[in-house]
Structures are given as structure tokens and as C-alpha cells.
């Protein structure tokens, strides 16, 4: 451990010292640190004058933390170059090979670069905010509380870690500094959006929520570091390929992996699909467990919490029940309002959205969306119970007929998404990151096209044309 840290520190220190000998880094940094606080301070003064005329102290108080957060963000964005160049810069200058030849481990080199990448922007950012706060002391405005300041410093830290851990991944994968810099906006933009959300929260005084933001952003950064380490190969840094996007090769890789060794559609279902499904066993188990827990949790929550907000008297329950039944009796009309293909399309789209969110967040956000959907089922059953229907009857008559297909599809797709996300952050010895991404997507597509879509189609037909009648029969309408 101690040895490990020595190596990380060695790599980080050299780079840290080196950048202070490079005016291309120093000059913008000094300008960023020095100029912005003064501009912001001047603006604050204007705002104070303006507010004083109208007596809006409260808003001004809210404005300062907002400005501090933004001032902290600018230096981060401008010194991101340090991280973006970390690997591809050394590669382009040809200095990477002696480093790779050395007995430093992969993680020492990677984490060393990450460390400088984070520390440099943070120094710039904290100096800049410090300067602004010092200037602020001269103004007749309430100084932000220590609690808010701590929160803002931590948020800035989380932003830095998130941006730099993404930038380092880009730096390892990029083939030229130019390409890496072009990709920078993909890192800065999302964080700028997050920042916007956070400033809104600060402005409206919902600071508590920001703790979740800090935890979530830090967690995501951790996963990004893991992703980067998992795909860090000395070999790629010696690669000679140039910036060419080989669409043909990607398409080949995709179709080869999709069809596998199958000789026809039938053969594909018999030989190939089971291979992918066999790998879904563990993720499926996880998804089912979480799903079942979510159904019961939201059912329980509805039964316990809803009465606390809405008083349901027996008369009111009677009323609601009658309303629900009258709705149910006209359910067969539903096919004219919501044709089966539309329902099918909606469901397929939801599953696709879960996948896209999932792949962008290594499974985490996709799983969240899945929970919302499953939770809804528990909520509906809970509501049924509240107004006096049997939840079991409701489930078996109203959900189960099409749910057998729809929920199966839903769970399978989510399991495939979880697996794809996990695959991305798992060390792969023989595949590049791009290839792993494609393979993950293809594996999911096999499940999606092979099983999920057919199941959804069947489910949509049942839900529109059979479920209404079963429901009516079950409730004696």
C-alpha cells in the first residue's frame, strides 16, 4: 500500500511540477483565478446597489452562494486540459514509452495522472473562490454560512472529480490531443447542466438535496475511475492507429456478434440466444429480487402513507369504487383510444430508455427507472386495496394476464441492461473499450430483439383485447 502510494505520488509530482513550467497552462490559470473574482465582485456591488433601492436583501443573500459556486466552476473547466492531455499528450510527444517500460503498475500511473488532474483544477478553483470571498468581506452583504461554504466546496470537489475522471478516460482512449480536446465539451456540458440544477436548489434554499448530489456525483466518479482502470492497457498507448472512424469495422463487429454462428433464425433461437440468456442468470436474480421488494415496498407505502394525506371515509371509498368500476365497464372501448401497436411502441420505448440511461451510468440510472416502473404496480395495487378491492384479485385479473409477458420482458431487458453496465466496468483483457461497449450493446440487442419485442407485442394485444374482459368478469360487471 505504502509502495503503491509512492508510485502514484511520483507520477503526480513530476506532472505537477512540469505543468508549472508551461506557460500555456500557467497563463490561463492565473487569468482565471485572478480576473473572475473581481468581475463577479463588481457585479455583486451593482446588484447590492440595485437591491438596496428596492429592499431585496433576501435575494441577495441567496445570490452570493450561487456566485461562489459558479466562480469555482470556471477554473475547473479551463484547467481540464491537464487531465485531457495526461496520456494522449505524453503519447503524442513520445514520452510515454519510458514510463510504460518502468516497473510502475497500471494503477499507479493511472491514479497518479488522475491525482494531478484533480488537484490542479481544485487549487485554481479554491484560490479563485477564496479571492472572491475575500473581496466580498468589503461589501455590505451577509457572508455565507460555514455550512453553505462547506457544501459548496464539496460540490466543487465533486464536479472536479467527475470531470477529471471522465477526461482521463478520454485521454487514454483518444488518438490525438486534438481529438481529446474536441471531446472536452462532452465532459463540461453535462457538469454545467448539473451545476445549473444545483444553483437552482441553492437559490431556492433546498440545500439538503445537494448532499444527495454530492454523493451521487462522487459515486459516479468512482465508477468512472473503475471503468478507466479496467480498460487501461499499456498496449493501446503505443498504438499507431490514427483518428479514423471505421464504421465498416464497427458494423461488422456488431453483426458478427449479433448473429453469432447461427445459420438461420430458427437456429439462432435454438443455439445462440440461449448462450446470452444463460449469462443473464445472476443479473436476472438481482433484478427480480429488487423488483419484488419494490412492489411490496410501494404497496406498503401506499397503504400506510396515503391515508395520512387523504382521509378515505367509507362513503368516499364507495364513490371511488363506483367510479373505478364504471371506468372498467367501458374498458373494451380502450382499443379505439389506445390501439395495441401504440401501447407496444410505448413499452418498447420505455425499455429502450432504461437501457440508454443504464449504459450511460453503468446500470445505476437504468435501475432507478426500472424501480419507478415496478413501484407503480405496487402503488396501483395499494390504491385498489385502499378503496376496498382485493389486491390479489386486482393483480390476477388486471395485471397478470398481460403481465406474464410484459413483466417477463421488462425484467429480462433490465437484467440485460444491468449486465451490459457491469460489463463496461469489468476488466477486459482482450477487448478495447469501444469493442466492449459494442459487445455490451449487442448482447442487450439480442435479448431485446429476440425475446423482449415479441413478448411486448403479445402483451400489448392481451392488454388491450383480453384484460378488459377478464377484469369485468372478475369484478362481475
Amino acid at each position: 500500500m505504502r509502495n503503491n502510494w509512492d508510485g502514484i505520488w511520483l507520477v503526480a509530482r513530476r506532472e505537477f511540477v512540469d505543468q508549472f513550467r508551461d506557460w500555456r497552462i500557467i497563463a490561463p490559470m492565473i487569468i482565471m483565478i485572478g480576473l473572475f473574482p473581481f468581475i463577479a465582485d463588481a457585479n455583486t456591488r451593482e446588484a447590492i446597489n440595485f437591491m438596496n433601492r428596492y429592499g431585496g436583501d433576501l435575494i441577495l443573500e441567496r445570490l452570493v452562494p450561487f456566485v461562489v459556486l459558479v466562480i469555482g466552476f470556471f477554473p475547473l473547466a479551463f484547467t481540464l486540459g491537464v487531465a485531457l492531455e495526461a496520456f494522449v499528450g505524453e503519447k503524442e510527444r513520445g514520452t510515454i514509452e519510458p514510463l510504460l517500460n518502468s516497473p510502475l503498475t497500471d494503477s499507479q500511473i493511472y491514479l497518479g495522472k488522475l491525482l494531478v488532474g484533480i488537484v490542479t483544477p481544485l487549487i485554481a478553483s479554491y484560490l479563485s473562490t477564496g479571492l472572491y470571498l475575500a473581496l466580498l468581506l468589503r461589501r455590505a452583504v451577509a457572508f455565507p454560512s460555514a455550512y453553505i461554504l462547506l457544501l459548496i466546496l464539496l460540490l466543487t470537489f465533486a464536479h472536479a472529480v467527475l470531470m477529471v475522471s471522465s477526461a482521463i478516460i478520454i485521454s487514454v482512449q483518444a488518438t490525438s490531443i486534438r481529438a481529446a480536446n474536441l471531446l472536452a465539451s462532452f465532459v463540461v456540458m453535462p457538469v454545467a447542466f448539473i451545476l445549473q440544477g444545483e444553483t437552482t436548489l441553492i437559490f431556492w434554499g433546498d440545500e439538503e438535496v445537494l448532499w444527495y448530489a454530492i454523493v451521487a456525483v462522487t459515486l459516479l466518479s468512482g465508477l468512472l475511475v473503475r471503468l478507466g482502470l479496467a480498460h487501461f492497457r499499456r498496449e493501446y498507448l503505443l498504438g499507431r492507429e490514427i483518428d479514423t472512424l471505421n464504421l465498416k469495422r464497427l458494423a461488422h463487429l456488431f453483426s458478427d456478434r449479433f448473429t453469432g454462428k447461427a445459420k438461420g433464425v430458427f437456429n439462432w433461437y435454438r443455439e445462440e440466444l440461449p448462450l446470452t440468456l444463460a449469462q443473464l442468470r445472476t443479473p436476472l436474480l438481482i433484478v427480480i429480487t429488487i423488483g419484488v421488494v419494490a412492489v411490496f415496498a410501494s404497496y406498503g407505502w401506499t397503504i400506510v402513507q396515503i391515508p395520512a394525506y387523504i382521509t378515505i371515509t367509507p362513503e368516499r371509498a364507495e364513490e371511488l369504487r363506483a367510479y373505478a368500476l364504471s371506468n372498467a365497464s367501458s374498458l373494451e372501448m380502450i382499443s379505439s383510444q389506445l390501439p395495441a401497436p401504440v401501447l407496444f411502441y410505448h413499452n418498447a420505448r420505455a425499455i429502450l430508455a432504461i437501457f440508454l440511461l443504464g449504459i450511460a451510468s453503468f446500470g445505476v440510472l437504468g435501475l432507478g427507472l426500472f424501480l419507478v416502473n415496478v413501484g407503480l404496480v405496487g402503488g396501483v395495487l395499494g390504491a385498489a386495496k385502499l378503496i376496498g378491492f382485493s389486491p390479489l384479485l386486482t393483480f390476477f385479473a388486471g395485471v397478470a394476464p398481460h403481465g406474464v409477458f410484459e413483466l417477463t420482458a421488462f425484467f429480462l431487458a433490465t437484467a440485460a441492461m444491468v449486465k451490459a453496465g457491469a460489463q463496461l466496468v469489468t476488466p477486459q483483457t482482450e477487448r478495447s473499450m469501444g469493442e466492449t461497449l459494442i459487445v455490451s450493446i449487442v448482447d442487450w440487442c439480442r435479448v431485446f430483439v429476440g425475446i423482449v419485442l415479441p413478448l411486448l407485442a403479445v402483451a400489448a394485444v392481451i392488454e388491450i383485447y383480453a384484460t378488459p374482459y377478464i377484469l369485468k368478469a372478475a369484478f362481475g360487471l
Partner: protein
């Protein structure tokens, strides 16, 4: 020590840069890896230093398996890369100190090695300056010092003297020879056949990723160029018709005052031949082995290789 068997590397799933390379270099030996640009020398060296994972085959370097123990291999190998790869904003001193730390040398050892190497390569004065200001040869010398900083058991030198002036390359050669005598295992990739001949006792010629020829230098000369040739020079014109040649001797060229022989086993035949010449009244000024260079071996081998490639 270096042992490699069937070492092969495929790039991008469609191009074999190195294929089936087997090598054996003992401590105290120097192997020269010769070949055109793009033949696969650098790729081979990178596999030996566990930088590239072999697609096929294996290698043991300094007692460690390059696939299973890459870290240990790298600790015990010194590599002079084809591009010097110096950090241009560091001074020579800082640079060597940095790599000394990377190889986990103690402070005294780092200092001592740096002082020795800088002095040896005549860089002591320049060591206070940023390496970006160095000439190409100085950069290569500093890179060489970096490769030697931890006094490694195995040295892989990729075109070590390509940018050096004659004096500097002489220095580098001397240092390499000294390392050989202190039982280091050394591989040199080079186009410089004179240098290879001066240093190496073993040679491997690589062509389009495959080893065409490898072995001890004398052995290869025999193998490629045939039996050794000797030339006799006479004080006055000499008629060789009457000469009774011993078995295994053949005259391959002649003029009035010279005769050139091809001799299968010089050890046993030469004394008899000299006897035969003098007893027939030849007045011999000199009798010497016609020098045969690695260059001849190399060019002959490449010629043949290209012929067979075109034939295919």
C-alpha cells in the same frame, strides 16, 4: 538471460508484425537483431519487456515470464527506446533522479549512478539544463543513461547509436562491451552492421516479422557465405599449375602474384597448404584469411529472402 519461443504479435486482428520468433541469449552475450525498417524489431523488444502481450508464444526475461510477471520483468530490464522520449522541461539531473525513483533506488544509489553515467557520457555540464535544449545525440546519450540507471541484468537497446556522432557512439559501444563482460544479457536492434559486428557474438536477421537466420556470427558466415577463403601473396609471379593441392582446398581466384583458396577446414589444412607452397619454391609475402563481414551475410540473406518473396 532471455529465452523466447514462438513469440508472435498480431495487430488489429489482421497483421502479423512478428511471427514465430525464438531466441536464446545467455548472460554475457550480445544478440544483434538486424532487419529493415518495419521488420518487427521494436515489436519484438516490446514483447520482451512485457509492454506488448504476445498474441502467441512466450518469453522468459531475467528469470520472469513476460505474461505472468510483467512487473518483475520491467524491474529487471533496461530499455533504450527507439525515440528517446525525454521530458523536455526537466533537466538532465532531474530526469535521471526521476527514473531512479521509479526504479526504487535509494537516494545514495540514485545520486551515485547519475553522477557516474552523466560523467561517462560527458553530460555533467549539460545536466543542469533542460533536456529540450539538448542536441539529438545528447538526448540519446541521456536516454541511454536512463536505461542504465538501475544497472539492469538485461538490456534491450533499440537503435542505440542512431543519432550519435562517432565519438559518442564509440563511448556507447565501449559501455555496452563493458556491460557484456560483467555478465549482462544484451539485445541490440540496429541497422549499423559494423557496430553489430563489433559488439555482437550472436546475430538474428528478421524479415517481415520472421527470423530468417540466427546463430553465432562465425557460424552464420560459414553458413551463408560458404567455406572460409584465404589469400596468398607472392614476391614474384608464381605458376600454380604444378601445385599439388591438399584435399579440401580449391582455387577460386588468381592473378600473377596472388592466389585465393576456398578451404573447408583451415585448422587442419592450412599448415599443409603453406608447406606445399613453400616446398614448390613460392616466395610468400603474406597468407591471410579474406575478411568477411556481417554486411555480406546480411545482404546475401536479404537478397535471397526477396527472391523467394517475389517468386511467391
Amino acid at each position: 538471460m532471455i529465452e523466447a519461443y514462438d513469440l508472435s504479435k498480431e495487430f488489429n486482428g489482421n497483421f502479423w508484425a512478428v511471427e514465430g520468433v525464438s531466441l536464446n541469449v545467455q548472460a554475457g552475450q550480445i544478440l544483434a537483431l538486424l532487419g529493415q525498417n518495419g521488420a518487427g524489431k521494436t515489436t519484438t523488444v516490446r514483447m520482451l519487456n512485457a509492454l506488448l502481450t504476445p498474441t502467441r508464444g512466450w518469453a522468459r526475461v531475467a528469470g520472469y515470464d513476460v505474461i505472468k510477471n510483467p512487473q518483475e520483468v520491467r524491474s529487471n530490464v533496461g530499455v533504450l527506446t527507439e525515440q528517446h522520449g525525454l521530458y523536455v522541461r526537466m533537466t538532465g539531473d532531474e530526469y535521471l533522479d526521476y527514473f531512479g525513483r521509479v526504479y526504487k533506488l535509494s537516494a545514495e544509489k540514485r545520486k551515485a549512478r547519475a553522477v557516474y553515467l552523466l560523467d561517462y557520457f560527458g553530460l555533467t555540464e549539460a545536466a543542469k539544463r533542460r533536456t529540450g535544449e539538448y542536441s539529438k545525440g545528447m538526448k540519446q546519450k541521456l536516454a541511454m543513461a536512463r536505461a542504465l540507471i538501475h544497472d539492469p541484468a538485461v538490456l534491450l537497446l533499440d537503435e542505440p547509436t542512431s543519432a550519435m556522432d562517432p565519438e559518442a557512439s564509440r563511448l556507447a559501444r565501449d559501455e555496452i562491451a563493458r556491460l557484456k563482460s560483467s555478465q549482462r544479457t544484451i539485445v541490440i536492434c540496429t541497422h549499423n552492421l559494423v557496430e553489430a559486428e563489433a559488439l555482437a557474438d550472436h546475430v538474428a536477421i528478421i524479415y517481415r516479422g520472421k527470423i530468417l537466420l540466427s546463430g553465432a556470427l562465425d557460424e552464420l558466415k560459414r553458413q551463408v557465405l560458404g567455406a572460409a577463403e584465404y589469400e596468398a601473396e607472392f614476391a614474384e609471379s608464381y605458376n600454380a599449375e604444378a601445385l599439388d593441392l591438399p584435399a579440401g582446398v580449391e582455387i577460386v581466384a588468381r592473378n600473377a602474384t596472388r592466389l585465393r583458396f576456398r578451404i573447408e577446414s583451415p585448422q587442419t589444412t592450412n599448415p599443409n597448404l603453406v608447406d606445399a607452397l613453400t616446398s614448390r619454391g613460392a616466395r610468400v609475402i603474406s597468407f591471410y584469411e579474406v575478411p568477411r563481414t556481417l554486411e555480406q551475410v546480411y545482404l546475401r540473406t536479404m537478397e535471397r529472402a526477396q527472391e523467394t518473396t517475389y517468386a511467391e
